[in-house]
């Protein structure tokens, strides 16, 4: 496939994944705030966490904020490339770029998401109830994921979607773990983390007794059956790379991206939570995050042209009636 199309598929998937995650993080924080944040201290910390994930900032560098400013920054702010408005707009621009390669259903879902988000204001979202809007964004993102799986040929374009989707998903899970202060954080913090990672139910099924923080770390990082654990994502990235190059996974590499992705997989296949805690949660999370960034950089170098894909601003859309 065209290198330019491959790159657009990759960014399309990354931005849809990020929009979904930011919507879920805001939703979890907002709904939890309604019956749990009697203490300002907690509320402050929760919204700071949401803002750190929704702006890809280091938790230490995020200022105190309230719900409204978090919504504003993470939903509408066009200067924040991780806001829902930005990610959805960039996803659509990339979808237009590969319009000839997408199924009608995929394109329409992306376009409808864009038209919905574009029509929103903070007042409208507040009036409607933020949870409803955020839920709609999540639903639509998941519909996009499902419909691409069900309607695209599982060849190059879809493989680049998988690459973008899982690289981004693993990366954002690490961003969430970075907002944990220490293993001694109270349980509600861990519960919030599980919900933001969409891991609450899967974790409850996988752990049989009253769980401890260590198990949450183990689950979110390593669980090989949970499709959002960092290890699972690393393996999917590696598998997609080998499908693209048509070489067997687990037996060496044919380019720099496969080399780095293979190493990352080995890290998850041959380490456990004891190793993580030995290294320290935060140093480990930081290191793996850089390794994922290196994999993404290598994918760029191997497969994409040196001409950037346009990340256009929102185009005004109006209906002209007859």
């Amino acid at each position: 496939m065209l290198s330019r199309h491959a790159e657009s598929f990759f960014w399309l998937a990354r931005n849809v994944e990020r929009a979904e995650t930011v919507a879920r993080v805001l939703d979890v924080t907002y709904t939890r705030s309604m019956d749990r944040f009697q203490h300002d201290v907690w509320a402050n910390r929760a919204w700071r966490t949401a803002l750190a994930i929704g702006t890809l900032a280091e938790p230490a560098n995020v200022d105190t904020c309230d719900a409204e400013s978090a919504f504003d920054r993470c939903i509408f702010d066009a200067t924040n490339l991780s806001s829902i408005a930005s990610t959805v707009s960039i996803a659509r621009t990339n979808a237009i770029n590969v319009r000839s390669e997408l199924s009608t259903e995929t394109w329409e879902n992306i376009n409808e998401l864009y038209l919905d988000v574009r029509a929103q204001t903070i007042e409208a979202v507040t009036r409607e109830g933020p949870a409803r809007f955020l839920r709609r964004v999540r639903d639509r993102c998941q519909a996009i994921e499902g419909v691409t799986d069900a309607t695209l040929l599982h060849v190059d374009g879809w493989n680049f979607l998988q690459l973008g989707r899982f690289a981004e998903r693993g990366y954002l899970a690490l961003r969430m773990l970075a907002t944990i202060e220490s293993l001694d954080d109270p349980w509600p913090e861990w519960q919030a983390l599980l919900e933001m990672a969409s891991a609450s139910m899967p974790f409850a099924r996988a752990s049989s007794h009253l769980p401890a923080s260590r198990e949450v770390v183990d689950f979110v990082l390593f669980d090989p059956t949970f499709p959002r654990s960092v290890g699972f994502c690393a393996n999917e990235v590696d598998a997609a790379l080998h499908r693209i190059s048509e070489t067997p996974q687990g037996r060496g590499y044919t380019n720099q991206a496969e080399k780095l992705a293979g190493r990352l997989c080995a890290e998850f296949n041959f380490a456990d939570v004891a190793d993580v805690l030995h290294e320290g949660l935060h140093p480990f999370v930081r290191r793996i995050r850089h390794e994922i960034e290196d994999v993404m950089g290598a994918i760029q170098g191997v497969y994409f042209p040196r001409i950037p894909v346009p990340n256009a601003p929102l185009l005004p859309v109006e209906v002209v009636s007859a």
Binding site: E101, E108, P305
Partner: protein, 482 residues
């Protein structure tokens, strides 16, 4: 009950729908009955749903000159325009004849130039045309086909005669609306189709693909075909993407191409891939910065050399624009006689050549009754519609004509035929035209897929999408005679 107005517009305009004050024309009888049976608001409600669907599908075009690329839907009118089989077959034969003659003309002007030896006025028009591409002289194009895809604009005058208004033999657009219009009308108003045996339009992409395969340079193996687009900001990008998707070929931008050893390649994730046929939706000027506009980033460096070497087919060929230069339009009947030894099946609109002093004086003296067009213009930009113009506009055009007579032609204002069209809840008469598309591969093919454009403003004669036009589904009845 929706009332179909008895007479939509008083005399002077041909009514497509009604035979006289009382009776619909035979092909419209069934439709009139169906329209009368609709509930009030049914049509308007359906149109709202259609417009929402078109926006959702992203069937939009970009309006230039407004704030940096506004995306708009091309308004859709739900009342279909209908052709009986015999009438359509005559139209198809007429436009096919025209394209054959124009193609023979292009072959001639870029080689022996036989016709130019016999007709000095035509010779002057060709050599003064900025659409005549000297780089194409002596270049053999595969199978001598220049005009693989064209759209011929037709109008019906006061007497009901179909006339050719202009030929579009560069990169005509609009076919995506034909395909979308049929699809949305079927889904929204299935009732209207009852009792009408229609020819389908949805095989157009297949017919286009066959045309492009026929155009491939002689080389063993399956030709590698691409669609070349200027990119996502082009007003017809949706159409480029739709055709590429339905033909199953890559939609490519100039930056995806590289020319090595006079061969065109695509940059893919598996390395370079050879290209044989380029269905290009980019103007000549932008195709190759080495030969044409040096500042173009839309084409590919070296493309022209690859083309001249015969290693790649461009559809349409470079240099076809001279055949639709409006200053040459009045010679087309003569071309038909000269190359085909036939009389024109479809007449031209009377046209005044502003370089001729007597004609120019006539034009300048009658500007308020004339339509004046730039000879190298298209898309409804740079036009004067005399009856609708202000004195100041006429003054401006008069000065422009005096200054550059070669750049303008004038025609008497033809009252385009009218057709019932929905405005709010009511049916009103609005002017329409017709653009059949002609494909030319091993033979000339006229698919029963024509675009009817409608001027949505009352009394307006301008149907272009960029100028407040809309479109209608166009039905061709009966078994194919082609």
């Amino acid at each position: 009950m929706l009332s179909v107005p008895k007479r939509l517009e008083p005399g002077g305009v041909f009514d497509e729908f009604f035979l006289d004050a009382e009776t619909p024309r035979p092909v419209y009888e069934r439709l009139a009955e169906t329209l009368r049976s609709l509930q009030p608001g049914e049509l308007a409600g359906g149109v709202r749903a259609i417009n929402a669907a078109l926006l959702r599908r992203g069937v939009t075009f970009t309006v230039y000159a407004e704030d940096a690329g506004t995306e708009r839907i091309f308004p859709f009118d739900p009342i279909p325009r209908i052709f009986a089989a015999e009438e359509w077959d005559q139209i198809a034969a007429g436009v096919a004849q025209r394209v054959r003659a124009l193609n023979a003309f292009l072959r001639d002007v870029y080689h022996e130039a036989r016709i130019l030896r016999e007709n000095t006025a035509l010779r002057d028009a060709v050599f003064s045309s900025n659409l005549y591409v000297r780089e194409m002289i002596g270049v053999r194009v595969p199978h001598d086909v220049y005009i693989h895809v064209s759209g011929i604009d037709l109008i019906r005058d006061e007497t009901g005669t179909m006339l050719v208004l202009e030929d579009n033999v560069r990169t005509p657009s609009g076919i995506s609306y034909v395909l979308e219009n049929r699809d949305v009308l079927k889904r929204t108003f299935p009732k209207l189709f009852e009792g009408y045996p229609l020819r389908p339009v949805d095989d157009y992409p297949r017919r286009l693909l066959r045309t492009l395969r026929d155009a491939a340079p002689p080389r063993s193996g399956e030709p590698n075909i691409i669609v070349l687009t200027p990119g996502v900001y082009n007003s017809a990008y949706y159409e480029h993407a739709m055709l590429a998707r339905q033909m199953g070929v890559p939609l490519v931008e100039g930056r995806d191409l590289i020319v090595v050893d006079n061969t065109v390649f695509l940059k893919t994730t598996r390395g370079l891939e050879r290209v044989d046929v380029i269905y290009r939706r980019i103007d000549d000027d932008f195709l190759d910065p080495l030969y044409f506009r040096h500042d173009s980033v839309l084409g590919a460096v070296g493309l022209m050399n690859a083309y001249r070497s015969g290693n790649v087919t461009l559809a349409n060929a470079i240099g076809t624009g001279v055949a639709d230069d409006k200053a040459l339009y009045r010679f087309v009947p003569e071309m038909i006689r000269f190359y085909l030894h036939e009389d024109s099946l479809l007449p031209n609109v009377e046209t005044f050549d502003c370089t001729d002093e007597r004609s120019r004086r006539h034009v300048l003296g009658n500007l308020e009754n004339m339509v004046v067009k730039r000879t190298d213009g298209s898309g409804g930009y740079g036009m004067l519609i005399g009856p609708a113009s202000t004195a100041a506009e006429r003054e401006e055009f008069a000065r422009a004509i005096e200054a550059e007579p070669r750049s303008y032609i004038a025609q008497p204002t033809i009252q385009l035929s009218s057709h019932p069209t929905l405005a709010g809840q009511d049916l009103v008469a609005r002017r329409i035209d017709l653009r059949p598309f002609v494909l030319y591969g091993k033979r000339v093919d006229v698919p029963p897929a024509a675009l009817t454009r409608v001027a949505l403003r009352e009394g307006s004669l301008v149907v272009n999408s960029s100028q407040g036009g809309g479109s209608k589904d166009t039905w061709v009845l009966g078994a194919s005679g082609a």
